[in-house]
């Protein structure tokens, strides 16, 4: 019993900042700045949400922040997230399946290269890429950001999918192969249906990691494209806590829903498929 109370108080500590954020977004300016903080008994006030959605019209703010900018920021994040995750998945499925099934000479070297790609500080990719993108006109485009996020998520996708394919019995491949099916057909018709749960998990995790990525989105997106973390860092300069809180609350709800859907495989995703839950 003591153990349970202790465990729940630990969970409470970790959930508290999220709780504090969400309640802050519903506070008026007096309750927001009161110390000791009003955690439960405050007047509920939706004005922050109204301002976040229709920001420039009401406050006559610099139009470079864009009208309805929260909606378009969420759209930016969704386009980049879904675009890059789809591309990641297509590349990852073929590579992951091949690495899972075949024994080839440079297999270990390839896996080490994938892991090394995961290690790269993102700034060391973003700076050279900035110049390359500048030359081929990919700066500030969805395609440019989707490509770099695809690369960032590839190590996760390939290794995680490999671990899911490893769980599909090799007997299935062998039997189908004896019956004369080609490798590509075995993958499409037999293996993908067997591993579709794992593929869905990989897809959602890729969206989440694209949603949270910061430094590449900052450098590749400029004026037109701002994903949610970038917008958050810009909002730092606008001294309005309730709007900051409302903005962040709305922007983390989609990821919360996504993660609770794949919670069982989350640890496996975080460890690139090595630790299973």
């Amino acid at each position: 019993m003591i153990r349970k109370i202790l465990a729940f108080s630990v969970a409470l500590i970790f959930i508290f900042p999220i709780f504090f954020l969400i309640t802050s977004s519903f506070k008026n300016n007096i309750d927001l700045f009161s110390l000791p903080p009003k955690l439960f008994l405050f007047d509920i006030d939706f004005s922050a949400y109204e301002r976040v959605f229709g920001f420039s019209k009401l406050l006559k703010f610099d139009p470079s922040y864009g009208e309805l900018y929260l909606t378009s920021r969420i759209l930016d994040s969704l386009i980049v997230g879904i675009g890059s995750s789809s591309l990641t998945l297509i590349i990852g499925i073929y590579a992951g399946y091949y690495i899972s099934r075949a024994n080839f000479k440079y297999k270990n070297f390839l896996i080490m290269s994938i892991l090394s790609a995961r290690m790269m500080p993102l700034i060391s990719i973003a700076i050279p890429l900035y110049f390359v993108y500048e030359k081929i006109n990919l700066l500030d485009t969805y395609v440019g950001l989707i490509l770099i996020h695809t690369f960032i998520n590839l190590p996760l996708a390939v290794l995680l999918l490999k671990s899911f394919f490893d769980e599909v019995p090799k007997q299935i491949d062998e039997n189908a192969f004896i019956d004369g099916a080609s490798k590509i057909k075995i993958l499409h018709k037999l293996i993908i249906p067997c591993a579709k749960g794992g593929i869905a998990v990989t897809f959602i995790l890729s969206i989440i990691f694209s949603w949270t990525e910061f430094i590449c989105a900052l450098m590749i997106g400029q004026m037109k494209i701002k994903t949610i973390p970038i917008q958050a860092s810009i909002m730092k300069t606008i001294p309005s806590w309730d709007m900051m809180a409302a903005f962040t609350t709305i922007s983390i709800i989609p990821v919360f829903i996504m993660i609770l859907a794949v919670r069982k495989h989350f640890v496996r995703g975080l460890t690139l498929g090595t630790v299973k839950e």
């Binding site: 954020l21 690369f151 080609s182 450098m219 983390i252």
Partner: protein, 297 residues
């Protein structure tokens, strides 16, 4: 036969060659890892000269500047301190919490779900949450610390050269300790129960069981957790960007942030040199760690 015909693919995809399967992956690795790596090397020997509005060859200047630059050494120290301290605290705290919630009781399942939530918040947004909570005048954390007397009434967290880094680290510890917890719990739950039962019968004390049985059996899981957390700690930039922008002064510059900041000051070559340094360090250390800790994929 007709059904099979409709599914025909280019013949090279049916071959036994590994190329078509791995080609997209290898292309991505070359375009986004190998090319940037060599471009970084190229940039580190060049610098933008404002007078001539061009990127000119400067020889070893950037590298000489790197090793004589006090701010660089400061940011290297910050990166090292940040990585090691956060890793240590998160590992110890994480192990403690993992042992606490390692149970079949359904209530503990809810706790594990709660702990997942912090991990998917974009770090920049987590920084924003703590920016509000650590505000010098109206923030919750300074108010708490002041009321118990840990800091003086005039002290601030994020504007104080010695406290600012801890103000950043607290966000990392809050957000990523659950990462350790979840991985270690997954490891603990996968352990066989027989050795532990026989140890209890033999009269081993809980601490002995932990040291002689749990830790060695968790070796692989702990190594993976350290590796992945270490990589992300080393390249952390989001929190300092949002919370302190490297300040006060240069007290919270990490290597990545300093590199980015030099880049925005149009010192492209020098910025690339710093990022290249940070890349080479993590590639050597990371791969050595994988080798010596015998982590397998």
């Amino acid at each position: 036969m007709a059904a099979q015909k409709s599914y025909s693919l280019p013949s090279f995809m049916n071959s036994d060659s590994s190329l078509p399967w791995l080609l997209p992956l290898i292309t991505m690795l070359i375009v986004f890892a190998i090319i940037p790596f060599f471009y970084n090397i190229y940039l580190s020997f060049h610098e933008f000269v404002p007078a001539k509005r061009a990127l000119l060859f400067v020889g070893w200047d950037n590298w000489i500047r790197l090793f004589t630059d006090g701010v660089f050494w400061g940011s290297l120290k910050v990166s090292l301190y940040y990585t090691f301290m956060c890793l240590l605290i998160q590992l110890v705290l994480g192990m403690g919490i993992a042992l606490l919630i390692d149970s079949d009781d359904p209530g503990f399942g809810i706790i594990r779900s709660i702990l997942t939530l912090t991990l998917v918040i974009p770090p920049a947004i987590a920084g924003m949450i703590f920016l509000i909570m650590e505000d010098a005048n109206y923030g919750l954390i300074p108010w708490l610390l002041k009321s118990v007397g840990l800091i003086g009434p005039e002290d601030t967290i994020l504007a104080d050269p010695t406290l600012a880094l801890w103000g950043v680290m607290i966000v990392d510890i809050w957000q990523w300790t659950p990462f350790m917890v979840l991985i270690l719990v997954a490891g603990l739950r996968s352990l066989p129960s027989e050795p532990f039962e026989s140890a209890v019968i033999d009269g081993a004390r809980p601490f002995q069981v932990f040291r002689r049985l749990t830790l060695p059996m968790l070796h692989k899981v702990i190594a993976v957790a350290i590796l992945i957390r270490g990589i992300d700690l080393w390249r952390m930039v989001d929190y300092v960007f949002v919370l302190t922008s490297g300040g006060p002064g240069t007290a919270t510059y990490t290597l990545s942030l300093y590199s980015w900041q030099r880049f925005t000051f149009v010192q492209w070559g020098y910025g690339a040199t710093i990022s290249l340094f940070s890349l080479i360090v993590i590639l050597i250390v990371g791969n050595a760690f994988i080798h010596f800790a015998k982590v397998k994929w």
